[in-house]
Symmetry: C2
Subunit: 154 residues, 2 copies
DNA sequence: CTTAATTTAATCTTGCGCGATTGATTGTAG
DNA sequence: CTACAATCAATCGCGCAAGATTAAATTAAG
């Protein structure tokens, strides 16, 4: 009665729940991020800007694993909303420098309660969360080392 | 010297590595799926079709956590490639029935080696993979039970 | 039987995400 | 100093995702 293991069945995939879970989490953020008029990607971009105040587009991309084709239009939208400023570097005009504005810094206060409210939705035990965190970064490390060097210190 | 825990720092997020990891995995699939002329979403859709042969769009969506606004154009593309057929149900003309074609079934053979080749890229220990699998489905279950009833038996 | 509510796929709009290309700027080799 | 390579941000095309709306078909209620 041994049922042969089928590697092409959806339920035997490890990648599918990862894909689906990421989507569901982004969806869970939506009501909270709507209050801030941010999408999820804009939100994590603001996190990077809250921490670093001023970065080149390239550096933002290193933190988020995104490139200019995604970030350029996204940063323009954040600029329209008034949360960041964009200007060319005078030393090297190829670089575009993104910096946080006062409105961007103020937005951080409005965002303070978001992580806790989301955590309440996810209801994940701290130990499992820690394991998940470690495993995910291990996979990211394995995959990004193969192609492309993601040294986080530019 | 206690550094206060900052819930708005990117490195303190559990959701960000989930989001980034899902993206990197889809990227890792790309070279293998390019050989099949499939995108990742098309690939998991084909998995559902390989298993079930014939489903309504609604049912495909239940398995993949996707709705018609994503699936309708995607299934049309799979139809253009010749891997699925689309027809209205005669009993209930609201339902559109998707069925696997011979070419779709044949594609399964070409896809057989994909899971193993991807697993080789990810290099995840079986025990960690099992933990990850369990945790992800736990989160998906928590999030999808809040809004929307995802009973997989229609 | 007729009207109203429900279900379903399709459509529309917005915003990623990424591969590929472009164009401007800078660095380097001869 | 000049040609060539490298490095950036920006652009383009395509394919998701998801919310909102639409239109057709079916079911339920009066």
């Amino acid at each position: 009665m041994a049922v042969p293991f089928d590697p092409l069945k959806l339920e035997n995939q490890i990648c599918f729940p990862l894909y689906a879970c990421a989507k569901e989490i982004v969806k869970a953020y939506k009501p909270y991020l709507d209050e801030l008029d941010l999408t999820y990607t804009q939100y994590i971009t603001m996190m990077v800007m809250w921490e670093h105040k001023e970065l080149r587009v390239k550096e933002v991309g290193k933190y988020l694993y995104l490139d200019s084709s995604t970030l350029t239009p996204l940063l323009k939208r954040l600029e329209e909303k008034g949360y960041v400023a964009r200007r060319r570097s005078t030393e090297d005009e190829r670089d575009l420098i993104v910096s946080i504005t006062d409105a961007g810094t103020a937005l951080r206060e409005k965002a303070r309660t978001v992580p806790a409210r989301l955590a309440a939705c996810v209801e994940l035990e701290p130990q499992k969360a820690a394991e998940l965190y470690q495993t995910l970064y291990q996979i990211i490390g394995t995959l990004t080392k193969k192609e492309g060097n993601f040294d986080q210190n530019p």
